[in-house]
Subunit: 173 residues, 2 copies
């Protein structure tokens, strides 16, 4: 496209300077108007481009926020399945076996959604995946080590559904 | 803003007709350029507006598609809880009671997400919420009535996670 500055050629200037004063004013008005309109158009096009990029990011973010929100509503069900299995202990009948298998299935669903179970002890405390619910003296552990997982966490890396509730060994004073 | 037509006042025209021919051509070029730029700008603004509306709709749609996708991954877990409860029959011990309560909790999660359990029999067949898996002669039913729900459905109205698998009474020939 032709920009307002390109439009102002030598020929135009010569002609304008030879014309009556009103004509000069009118030509200058036109140029100013052109520049203003071009500026508006360019800004609209830039806005459009920014909007496209922003929405693509937003769509991704909203999708993963919704996934995490819906997955989190199932955690109490999974926790209760864990409790039922723990309660059954070594008992083995069809119902208990059924519940164990359903728990395994639920953990697979969570893992498949991107939230694997996290109940590892003996690892260094990591604020991203651990929530401290207790601190103990622990002679055999390096200070700041997870010595017990009270409630498993779900997630990996920066995508955490819930941190693991852990007991850590006391850091040296 | 000033439109190109408003810009072309009587004064402008008088002056232009009094000026040299080159000046007239230049003024006409400016007007055409102005009209072109204004048109481009207006189209950009309209595009921007349409894009905003389209993305808002898309965001809603994507959010609810993700909700339904994630909720659906839990249906096998819920079905197996139902089977475990059915299998336990009238038996009552801590584990069985636990499983019954977990099933109730899971159904509440689904209902809360917008997908209530649908296992009603005695209602007219509705293709939106029912999937026919069998047809039987049934003297006491109006033809086309759901006489048995083989597998519950989840959802309401147009928001269906899964239709109920049903047996319906034969329609009169």
């Amino acid at each position: 496209m032709v920009s307002p500055t390109e439009h102002s050629t030598d020929e135009d200037r010569d002609v304008a300077s030879g014309g009556p004063p009103e004509q000069v004013a009118s030509q200058t008005d036109s140029d100013a108007e052109l520049a203003k309109l071009e500026d508006r158009w360019r800004r609209s096009v830039a806005d459009l481009d920014n909007l496209r990029k922003r929405y693509a990011r937003e769509l991704d973010r909203e999708r993963s926020a919704e996934r995490s929100r819906v997955a989190a509503t199932w955690l109490p069900v999974v926790d209760n399945l864990e409790r039922a299995v723990a309660h059954a202990g070594d008992k083995s009948d069809a119902v208990v076996e059924g519940v164990r298998s359903i728990l395994g299935e639920a953990l697979q669903v969570l893992e498949h959604l991107g939230y694997p179970r996290d109940a590892e002890s003996g690892v260094p405390f990591d604020p991203q995946r651990h929530e401290v619910v207790g601190v103990v003296e622990h002679a055999d552990s390096t200070p700041g080590t997870v010595v017990e997982v009270v409630r498993p966490g779900y997630g990996q890396g920066s995508s955490q559904l819930r941190p693991a509730a852990v007991v850590v060994s006391r850091r040296e004073e």
